[in-house]
Symmetry: C2
Subunit: 365 residues, 2 copies
């Protein structure tokens, strides 16, 4: 009788909630993600699901809030569960921006490692009705056996709690980070990830999987202007390499005023670590918008001029002058500025070989 | 004094609203888009910004509502304005789904033709606060001179009104459709466009620009199951070719039961027009989800079996067995099912040559 009731309850739950909630009706057990392995934090002592603790630094409130997001953070675990669920609470009730999907902004993205390669497994979709409490089955009905999992967290929201659900009787345990390197990204909205379709599809996350590296990401939308506090963060942080997308938000004037001292400071703190500066992209919006084109041309010219000179002075500073490659067909962005998944792919194909060449000189391969 | 006040008003408006509303503060004139050229409607007598008038057909309410969307519709005009604005009202206040951006769901996407080629110019971002009244500057500060413009409408919303704004004193007039062909698309959410980043980036819109064709699009999310009413619509519609993504939402059982009669009907109405059926994609979600994989394998096997036989019987029916190509790296979708912009690009590169080869036989090139 008990079994019949249980079956009826499941059928009723499916009828009422749809298959999505089937696994919520079947008993599953939840574990707090903070007890698993959390990677890609900028600094070791950061709050657990937060990319950086900004309280140590002087910065405007907007940037401070942005540093509290879960951008780039991933949770590593091993489980033999055939289904994987997630319940998570986001800091903001807003789950999208105009030029990004809710899955990218506030959702989760799971990869599973097979034969040494990470492969996409499923996403968890956030609510879009103004609630900040989310629940979703990330992947279901998998084959039996242990799986090594990496769950990427929201790119433009913070996560105040995350529970991972597995089938009753299954096991879950922390997976020690299998990544060999640590490559730290500083940058604009483009490095923040806009506008890949989901967290694991951002150019930073993809480079991490390709180069076998953890990839802390402190890209901040619209606000990366060679400020002192970014230099402070870099000076305080540890990595095998640092990547700088510091020219996308900086005008030519800002570059003229700040870039030399910025580089001097970070090179002083990391004299033997590769510091790779990326030229900003040639924006498609400038194809017709002449004022945007002028601003973009000027910032690119200033970056090129300064970096050529700077690279002569600092032996471990590198400049990649063709970094973000969107193609010439106008199809690589969502809005003329932010890479869509095609723009990400073209960037990966162009940038990774150049990065590898530099990193190899430092024994990073 | 009047000029000074005007300048002050503009500065104040910029201070209060930001540059986005600068052009709303500068006087501009609006024209009703329905007085311009509207292309890609399924049938000539459809309501002006609607892809199809569903009232002629028997269909479930959800599909009926979907047919009223502005999916695929574009407005053609010529203007010498240096700035282009838009005010539009959407039918639904909801401006995104979980796996799509608001710009794609409810926004506008402008292309301008240069030397015979359409190039992306800018997007209009919808509100995401629950309002259905939207206003945005699509592109600004362009060079002087006449521009041929194509403005794509929302993919997952309807548009009850659309006004296009140009600089005071500038002219705007309908642009006669320069497209040589008319290729009509029937299909699932994938044909509906999910999950390209913006309306003009959908695989259907991109194929239209590449093949110089108007592209009516009656793709309906989750609901294209070889139903009689789809056959009715195709029988009643005119095109140089019809493309069918009819297997993505159909189970093997549905394909077994319906495909032969569906093809017989549409081939009977269009005996000399190429009718190209696309195999459904191999879904990445099936990489780990075994039940999804089985369902997907079964539908693909049923489609292939039936279409091989059907193509022998109907000389103008064609089957492309490798149509949607997502690559083998798992990076071509947002959720394991719906193409992101990388999946669209890979599909375009694979599908267009195959389509061209078939269309050439019918003198369509």
């Amino acid at each position: 009788m008990k079994q019949i009731f249980k079956t009826f309850a499941v059928i009723a739950a499916v009828a009422i909630f749809g298959t999505q909630n089937l696994y919520a009706a079947i008993k599953c057990q939840y574990v707090d993600a903070s007890t698993l392995t959390v990677i890609n934090k900028a600094q070791e002592n950061n709050p657990v699901l937060q990319r950086l603790d900004p309280n140590k630094y002087e910065m405007p409130k907007g940037i401070r809030n942005s540093m509290k997001l879960s951008t780039g953070i991933a949770v590593l675990f091993t489980t033999d569960s055939r289904n994987i669920h997630a319940k998570w609470k986001t800091i903001s009730k807003r789950s999208c921006n105009n030029n990004m999907t809710p899955i990218f902004h506030s959702g989760l993205d799971l990869y599973i490692r097979e034969n040494g390669k990470w492969f996409f497994a499923g996403v968890a979709r956030p609510k879009i009705n103004g609630s900040n409490e989310h629940e979703f089955t990330v992947v279901k009905r998998m084959a039996e056996g242990k799986k090594e999992c990496m769950l990427y967290l929201p790119m433009f929201n913070g996560v105040s709690s995350l529970e991972i659900g597995i089938d009753e009787g299954a096991t879950i345990e922390p997976l020690a980070s299998p990544f060999k390197h640590r490559i730290f990204f500083v940058g604009s909205s483009i490095t923040h990830g806009a506008s890949a379709c989901r967290p694991g599809a951002s150019y930073v996350a993809r480079i991490g999987r390709i180069l076998n590296a953890e990839t802390p990401n402190i890209g901040v939308s619209g606000q990366c202007k060679l400020n002192d506090f970014y230099a402070d963060i870099v000076c305080d942080s540890k990595a095998d390499a640092f990547i700088f997308d510091t020219f996308s938000n900086s005008t030519a004037k800002i570059i003229d005023e700040r870039v030399y001292n910025f580089v001097k400071r970070v090179a002083g703190a990391h004299p033997n670590t590769p510091l790779i500066f990326l030229q900003t992209l040639k924006r498609d919006i400038g194809h017709f918008d002449l004022a945007s084109r002028k601003r973009n041309d000027d910032q690119r010219a200033a970056a090129e001029k300064w970096m050529k000179q700077i690279c002569k002075e600092f032996k471990n500073v590198h400049f990649i002058n063709h970094a973000f490659e969107l193609g010439d067909d106008g199809e690589g962005t969502i809005d003329g500025t932010h890479l869509n998944d095609l723009g990400v792919q073209r960037t990966i194909e162009n940038l990774v070989p150049k990065m590898k060449k530099i990193l190899k000189k430092y024994g990073i391969k």
